[in-house]
């Protein structure tokens, strides 16, 4: 029993954070008035009155009615990415379950993690560890990114909200699965940096907004999936409101600077909650929201 109990404790070091708190009302984020393009940061630009059913720029339908959107491919260090997926993610061990979703594994193989880390850490980009990205934040451990993506169970065409853009890596991975990725980052330099990087790399359908993630992105909701990459004392009610019935939320829950629990919440058709505890993690807090003990 003890062994099994220990089997539930998995190795998950410190992963990416949200943020220094800034008192920015959610609607007053940095935006440009022009539609996103390959030459401009993919910041939130569409007016709130844009019909949700309309295809966003760069998203088309093929002859079979399947969505098509830019998903860049970079050959550089491809072998390392493959090895990372094979050894850290797709292969489980006594302490962590393997990630088996082939779409998620393919996304991790495709997205160049090294492009999202500072030059000083490029050499360790595919190690099994989080890495600092400046402003006191980190890029998550690859396994965690893969696991959270798998737990979110994103289907093509679903709308996904990410709280805590950070480096933009998680957003890029999500963008491999669906074109409708919306990401919030409260640290403005990180926000702009991630937006520019995503555009430069070719993830042009990811929309990044600078603002407080606690209030979500109501203009673009509801969402099929919400992924939160910083610890919270509870699920922010505004985020829950922006989750569709039948939708899923993946969020670390717990006290600050402690071992938290990665929890998957599902919203039932009647709005009620079901949750599943996945594993212990260690995220730095959503400092935009002061946490109770």
């Amino acid at each position: 029993m003890t062994t099994r109990l220990i089997g539930a404790l998995l190795l998950l070091p410190l992963v990416s954070a949200c943020t220094q708190a800034k008192d920015e009302p959610p609607a007053d984020e940095a935006t440009s008035t022009a539609p996103p393009s390959t030459t401009q940061p993919a910041l939130a630009t569409q007016p709130a009155t844009a019909p949700a059913a309309a295809l966003p720029p760069h998203v088309t339908l093929d002859a079979d009615g399947r969505l098509q959107w830019p998903r860049p491919r970079m050959g550089e260090r491809e072998r390392e990415r493959g090895r990372m997926v094979d050894t850290q993610i797709a292969r489980g061990d006594r302490w962590r379950d393997a990630v088996r979703d082939e779409r998620v594994l393919a996304a991790l193989r495709a997205v160049p993690r090294h492009a999202f880390v500072p030059d000083s850490h490029r050499g360790n980009a595919y190690d099994d560890t989080p890495l600092p990205i400046g402003h006191g934040q980190t890029i998550s451990q690859p396994y965690i990114v893969a696991l959270m993506t798998e737990l979110l169970a994103v289907k093509e065409g679903e709308r996904v909200l990410e709280i805590g853009t950070g480096s933009g890596y998680q957003a890029a991975v999500l963008n491999e699965l669906t074109p409708y990725v919306y990401s919030l980052e409260i640290i403005e330099p990180l926000c702009r940096q991630a937006a520019e990087l995503l555009t430069r790399l070719g993830y042009t359908t990811v929309r990044v907004r600078c603002g407080d993630g606690y209030h979500g992105w109501p203009e673009e909701g509801p969402f099929d999936g919400i992924i939160v990459t910083c610890a919270a004392g509870h699920v922010p009610p505004p985020l829950w409101d922006q989750l569709k019935p039948g939708g899923r939320m993946v969020i670390p829950i717990g006290g600050t600077y402690e071992t938290q629990r990665l929890v998957v919440l599902s919203k039932q058709s009647d709005g009620q909650r079901q949750s599943r505890n996945v594993l212990p993690v260690r995220f730095v807090p959503m400092t935009g929201r002061m946490q109770s003990p």
């Binding site: 220990i6 009610p237 071992t259 599943r276 594993l279 109770s292």
Partner: protein, 854 residues
């Protein structure tokens, strides 16, 4: 006593000024010790407050080594040594705390950063130790050169120390953090002034004062929170203009701050249904302590109706009489008001918190049903004459955090012991409930221990079917654990099921709960092959005959704690370390119970550093002085053997004067009283913490009382003990044995026996002041060269005892600590018999003369 040096005033040490200076320095050093403890509690974590005691003792012990190195100078020019020690101490008190604070130390080991943190902490403690070293050198110099007046000097030392403790308590209770060291600096300046002789030294005093004033003016010692402390994050928000500190207060129970920001939205166990209203955030000693809702009426606190804390109200039929223990921000008071409570008694020992809530809490207490009690919870519960409460919520335990990764492990909590919970249950009306809400943890520990504690408390009240009296329910955030005086009846079961359904909760345990109903809608891990969660499994095992096996097999220690070892937040098990290392590899420390590991590390380091700084230099010095540069160990041993044989040949009456015996007796005597003194002091601090509710306050009270009363004992030692060195330790051992029987008996010794306990403690402290001065006086008379050894050995043993006492207490309880302390004094008694029987050897040394050189 040595003759004064040329230029030194005759009878310098007879001057009253020296005694006042000794008292002033003693007060300054103890004030520094208490202030440092409180600063570490505020800026870092609770555990480090205890480490300050070790640092202080280490510093004092190392000062003995310093005095041994400077022995000739000390004896030749005692006044000069005292003066310059005071000057250096003043500089150290001004500079070293600033150096220590500038180091980015943290209690959270960062993977890959471990040795860097160890290095920083080492530097931190060396900086913190400096004033103790210099203060100890000054006091040691005064003591060892006082001759027959050693008792007066020691008494001045103890009285000054006691006064310093009292001043420190006043400081940390009333003044801003940056002002806490001012009395120490002033007292050291006074000491330097009193010890001056000659105009040059007056200039030195003036320069010291000027330096201190300039430094305090330009670089005040404001709080410097560790980066992972809650208050550090609040300060970050303030620096960004996103928050502001609206108020701060000092109280004997802690340093309280109130912050305001539009970004504060959290309440414990907030449901998904609606966001919380605007609120303030409260911090006590830098830790999160709850929220004050910025509302004016109970109607605006609707959000509380959907929290876990609302569940117990659903199980009560009529408007309840409610007791809220440890309420901070008032949210549970709003809830009680909304639930139409007939009476709401609020217990909060921190008057500063109460004051802030009154001022900023929107009138939460302005209701005729609300009664505030600013006192210790256990003291209040003792005053409850008849069972009267329908609901007792232990609000002090509300929270998500799993004990802050174990750094809280050394914090004593006298409320959540079996005896404390039994007191709560005893105050309940027949249909009453005791409830606690804590966050879900992985692996489960606090919520498991709560069930275990509730069960044993019920059994202590004669309730054998505890399974019928326990309810545990959770949601995705937290667990509400309830103990009832009555078994679960149909009406209450119906109410419970209704509440579970309406609040979308997950049952963990109640009587006749079906395993199929467990672990949904919020699913947690559980035993393989079953659908239940570990919490249900744990409750089931605790409530069965397999309880003992369950405690043994659980990864963490979840046995209930008692008043004898009130460490609720310590879950350490040695076998867990191996499992954690296998699970986490190099990152195992991030999951370990850090508090206990810190303690073991500090014990090992303190012992090693003590030997390095104190014993080893003394041993080298003794060998060099006695044997000469060309002596070999063989020639020294041969000479010692010859001397021993000669002494034996003189007859049985002389057997006590063999060199080895006297040396051993000295070590055992001073080591024994060092071990015993600190063991007893740590045990008394624990008892005082139970009475006073705050460890720093308790430490100050005990240290102060022991020093003052012990000082009186020192003054009386010459008359009471005289040359009967064995009598002092014997008296201490005897009273300690009696105290052990009284202080931790099965009866509630915190109640009716309180004054008897205090009286016995004072008698104990009186006798504790006797062994040291009588021993030093005897050494000064017969073997002066052993005086630094005595000081050093006593220092090292005291350092070791501080951490060792905690280790023993956490493992087996404070009764064992007292028993071991009594045993140490008993050994010192035997050693005292030997020392009392020894006579002055020719040459005044216990070591043989070196072999004649050609």
């Amino acid at each position: 006593m040595s003759a004064p040096a040329p230029g030194e005033p005759r009878g310098a040490l007879d001057r009253l000024g020296v005694l006042v200076a000794v008292a002033a320095v003693s007060a300054a050093v103890i004030n520094y010790e208490i202030v440092l403890m409180r600063r570490l509690l505020v800026e870092h974590w609770h555990h480090f407050a205890y480490l300050v005691i070790s640092a202080a003792l280490l510093g004092f012990g190392a000062s003995g080594t310093l005095l041994a190195l400077l022995e000739h100078r000390v004896r030749r020019s005692p006044q000069a040594v005292l003066f310059w020690s005071a000057i250096l101490l003043g500089v150290a008190l001004a500079v070293l705390p600033r150096l220590a604070i500038a180091l980015p130390v943290t209690a959270h080991f960062i993977p890959g950063d471990l040795w860097l943190q160890v290095g920083r902490w080492t530097l931190f403690w060396l900086a913190a130790l400096g004033p103790f070293l210099l203060g100890g050198a000054l006091l040691g110099a005064a003591l060892t050169t006082a001759g027959p007046r050693a008792g007066q000097v020691y008494a001045a030392n103890l009285f000054g120390s006691g006064s310093g403790a009292a001043v420190a308590v006043l400081l940390v209770s009333r003044f801003a953090v940056e002002q806490w060291l001012w009395p120490s600096l002033g007292l050291v300046g006074l000491a330097a002034f009193l010890l001056r002789t000659g105009r040059a030294r007056v200039v030195g005093v003036l320069l010291l004062v000027g330096f201190i004033v300039a430094l305090e003016w330009h670089r005040p010692l404001r709080p410097a929170y560790e980066e992972f402390k809650y208050a550090a994050r609040l300060q970050q928000l303030v620096s960004q203009g996103a928050a502001q500190r609206v108020a701060w207060r000092c109280d004997p129970h802690g340093y309280v701050e109130l912050y305001e920001s539009e970004l504060f939205h959290d309440l414990p166990f907030l449901a998904l249904t609606q966001p919380a209203p605007p609120m303030y955030s409260l911090a006590i000693n830098g830790d999160p302590a709850g929220s004050l809702l910025r509302i004016d009426t109970a109607a605006e606190a609707e959000v509380m109706d959907a929290t876990l804390m609302a569940l117990p109200y659903r199980l009560l039929a009529s408007p309840p009489s409610v007791l809220l223990i440890g309420e901070t921000g008032g949210t549970n008071v709003w809830l009680a008001r909304r639930q139409q409570a007939a009476r709401i008694d609020v217990i909060q020992p921190n008057a500063a918190v109460v004051g802030l809530v009154r001022e900023f809490g929107g009138g939460v207490y302005d209701d005729p049903r609300v009664n505030l009690h600013v006192e210790d919870p256990r003291a209040f519960l003792r005053s409850v004459r008849a069972p009267q409460y329908d609901l007792i919520q232990i609000v002090a335990l509300e929270g998500l955090g799993a004990g802050n990764a174990g750094v809280r492990g050394l914090a004593e909590d006298h409320l959540v012991t079996v005896e404390g919970i039994a007191q709560c249950l005893g105050a309940l009306s027949p249909g009453g409930l005791v409830a606690v809400s804590r966050g879900v943890e992985q692996p489960p520990r606090e919520n498991v221990r709560l069930v275990a504690t509730f069960v044993e408390a019920l059994e202590a009240l004669g309730i054998s079917d505890a399974a019928e009296h326990i309810i545990q329910v959770r949601d995705y955030l937290g667990v509400c654990t309830i103990a009832a005086r009555l078994p679960l009846d149909d009406a209450r079961r119906t109410a419970l099921l209704s509440a579970i359904r309406e609040l979308n909760l997950t049952p963990v345990w109640y009587a006749e709960l079906s395993p199929e109903d467990v672990n949904r809608p919020d699913t947690l891990d559980g035993p393989p092959g079953t659908s239940v969660d570990w919490l249900h499994y744990a409750a089931r095992e605790i409530l069965s005959s397999r309880r003992a096996q369950f405690y043994d097999s659980w990864l963490l220690n979840v046995r209930p704690v008692r008043d004898d070892n009130p460490f609720f937040w310590d879950f350490y098990k040695p076998q867990a370390v191996g499992e954690l290392r296998r699970a986490y590899g190099d990152l195992w420390l991030t999951r370990a119970e850090l508090g206990r590991l810190f303690l073991y590390a500090s014990l090992a380091v303190a012992g090693a550093v003590g030997v390095l700084l104190i014993i080893l230099p003394l041993a080298v010095l003794a060998f060099w002085n006695r044997a000469g540069p060309r002596a070999t160990a063989m020639s020294v041993a041969r000479a010692a053997r010859d001397t021993a044989q000669t002494a034996v040949a003189r007859g049985s009456a002389d057997w006590a004067v063999t060199p080895a015996t006297s040396m051993l007796a000295t070590i055992v005597y001073f080591g024994g009283i060092g071990l015993g003194f600190m063991g007893l002091e740590m045990a008394l601090i624990s008892r005082a913490t139970a009475w006073l509710g705050d460890p720093v306050l308790a430490s100050a009270a005990v240290i102060g009382a022991v020093l003052v009363v012990g000082g009186a004992g020192s003054l009386a030692s010459a008359r009471v003990v005289g040359r009967r060195l064995w009598l002092g330790p014997l008296l201490v051992a005897g009273v300690a044995v009696l105290l052990r029987a009284a202080a931790w008996s099965s009866a509630d010794s915190l109640g009716t026996g309180l004054w008897a306990l205090v009286s016995a403690s004072l008698v104990l402290a009186f006798f504790m002041g006797m062994p040291m001065p009588t021993g030093v006086a005897l050494l000064n008379e017969r073997t002066p060269r052993l005086a630094p050894w005595a000081w050093g050995i006593n220092g090292v043993s005291s350092v070791i005892a501080t951490s060792a006492a905690l280790v023993v207490a956490m493992s087996t309880g404070y009764r064992t600590v007292v028993a071991l302390a009594a045993a140490a004094y008993a050994l010192a008694t035997l050693a005292g018999v030997l020392l009392s029987a020894s006579r002055r050897l020719s040459g005044g040394s216990i070591m043989p003369r070196p072999p004649a050189r050609d």
